[in-house]
Symmetry: none
Subunit: 268 residues, 2 copies
DNA sequence: TTGAAAATACGGTAAAACCCCTAGGTTGTT
DNA sequence: AACAACCTAGGGGTTTTACCGTATTTTCAA
């Protein structure tokens, strides 16, 4: 079970919002995101939270857990991304706790739209998975944190308080991924925050064929290239994604819709 | 948002256990599942519950919610199917609240194995998918209920009490699916077109681990069996499915929900 | 109790995957 | 021209799969 360590990689964050909000709060002044009612001093204010998750039992559970802390108040629950956006406009929360997988409008799109309209809104993604694409894209969208659901309640509460202070929070597995991405990007002189794991066209092609069950030899014949070249592509894909098994590559390809998840033919 | 209506289709249940337990309790007698300590009369006993879900925040949330009712006591939490089995043996709960998508051993397999060993154990599946293709299989395995995570806390508590009385509980969408399956499947004896390839429990277990990126050696250590045995299971699975690559097995496992499509940590 | 199915395990072999390394050729950009 | 990125290709190595046997034990139902 992973433990949450907050703020461990704050200084190397690719997220642009992290530094912004951090600076604002170091001054010791309350930083009203808008015309929000301040329920106390900057340090003691109650943090208003909106929970967005399509599972009622999960929403209610999280609400019960984080409201045990008297400094946190859940002001609303949304069961879709779209309703989350509506409720943010109405309720003006400090933080949105956002699930990724939601109907009508997923957490990523919701985050993008919300940040665009409310740049100072703090959005903490609470996801079931720590897939690279989501982590990077969500952070690029301007989220203030990315936690996985393996997180414990006390860790979540602590994370919310850190975020309210203007810090960014990540689960360790997410932080690891972000770090890798940062390092790769910075070594090549790219702008931090822009480097997602990018596969070249040929690599994507090879990955798709791998996920469809082709052996290297078949791929080579299909693409009319040497097996050695195929192996090279495969190796680079593995290095980039940090996945070193065929099973993992296949899963990645399906999840990222590089390969169709539906099989045709006798196997199914 | 769907509302839970419990017991609406109890009389048309295909599950064998439902009628069994129902009859037992209509007599008004306490029906000790084993040598369990009775903490009161039959009506007032505390219901001991084990929660199996790989997401800590979800487990803790559900625990907080259902323990608000003084008749329900959560005696343990498991984060994998395998640990759920171990904890049942140790803690002897009345009811297991079982998530479907779990690493190492999924909820369906866990349910099958638990019911096989503890036929009177009540297992309530709490799944993320309302359209779960496993509804029928889970009920055939002998589960006492199938709820989706859209269920609200008070409904869940009520459902647990109904199950403890020996009744079966379903979310409306699940009940609908079961009805359809009854009509189509049981009358014709088999699903039209597709004959189901039947893998043994152990083979399914191995398949899931393969799809989660485990190498044969790791699987062997996980199941505490010889690598040669793992290879044999793998071979038989391949022969049965007529799939002879890891990629194909992984895809099959994902499409058939033997493995989660979204993984986190570990193997990836 | 007998038999079938399942799970266990071992030996051997060829193929494939995995993981290093170097390196030429083609693009496109600065 | 220099540079970076990509595609290409090969050498050489270890590890893992895939497939072929056989065989014992367990389990469960006829």
């Amino acid at each position: 079970m992973e433990k949450l360590e907050m703020g461990t990689i704050q200084t190397e964050l690719p997220a642009r919002r992290a530094s912004m909000t951090r600076v604002g709060n170091l001054s010791g002044t309350a930083m009203p995101t808008s015309t929000r009612s301040s329920l106390g001093t900057a340090a003691n204010r109650v943090i208003s939270v909106l929970i967005a998750d399509d599972h009622t039992i999960v929403r209610q559970g999280i609400r019960a857990l984080i409201e045990c802390d008297e400094k946190i108040k859940v002001v609303g629950e949304a069961d879709t991304g779209r309703s989350a956006i509506h409720m943010v406009k109405e309720l003006n929360p400090d933080i949105v706790l956002m699930d990724i997988a939601m109907p009508l409008l997923n957490g990523l799109e919701s985050t993008k739209q919300l940040i665009k309209e409310f740049p100072r809104l703090k959005i903490v993604v609470l996801s079931s998975y720590s897939d690279d694409i989501y982590v990077t894209q969500v952070m690029e969208a301007g989220a203030a944190g990315y936690l996985i659901k393996q997180t414990a309640a006390n860790e979540l509460v602590a994370a919310l308080k850190e975020v309210q202070k203007g810090k960014a929070v990540f689960s360790p597995s997410v932080a690891r991924r972000l770090k890798d991405n940062c390092r790769n990007g910075l070594e090549h002189g790219q702008l931090p925050g822009k480097e997602r794991i990018k596969l070249t066209p040929r690599e994507l092609e090879v990955l798709q064929l791998i996920a469809e069950g082709y052996a290297n030899k078949q791929i080579a014949s299909e693409l009319t290239i040497s097996i050695k070249t195929v192996e090279k592509h495969r190796q680079r894909v593995m290095d980039k994604l940090n996945i070193h098994q065929t099973a993992g590559l296949t899963r990645y390809a399906i999840v990222n819709r590089i390969s169709e998840s539906h099989m045709q033919g006798g196997a199914l």
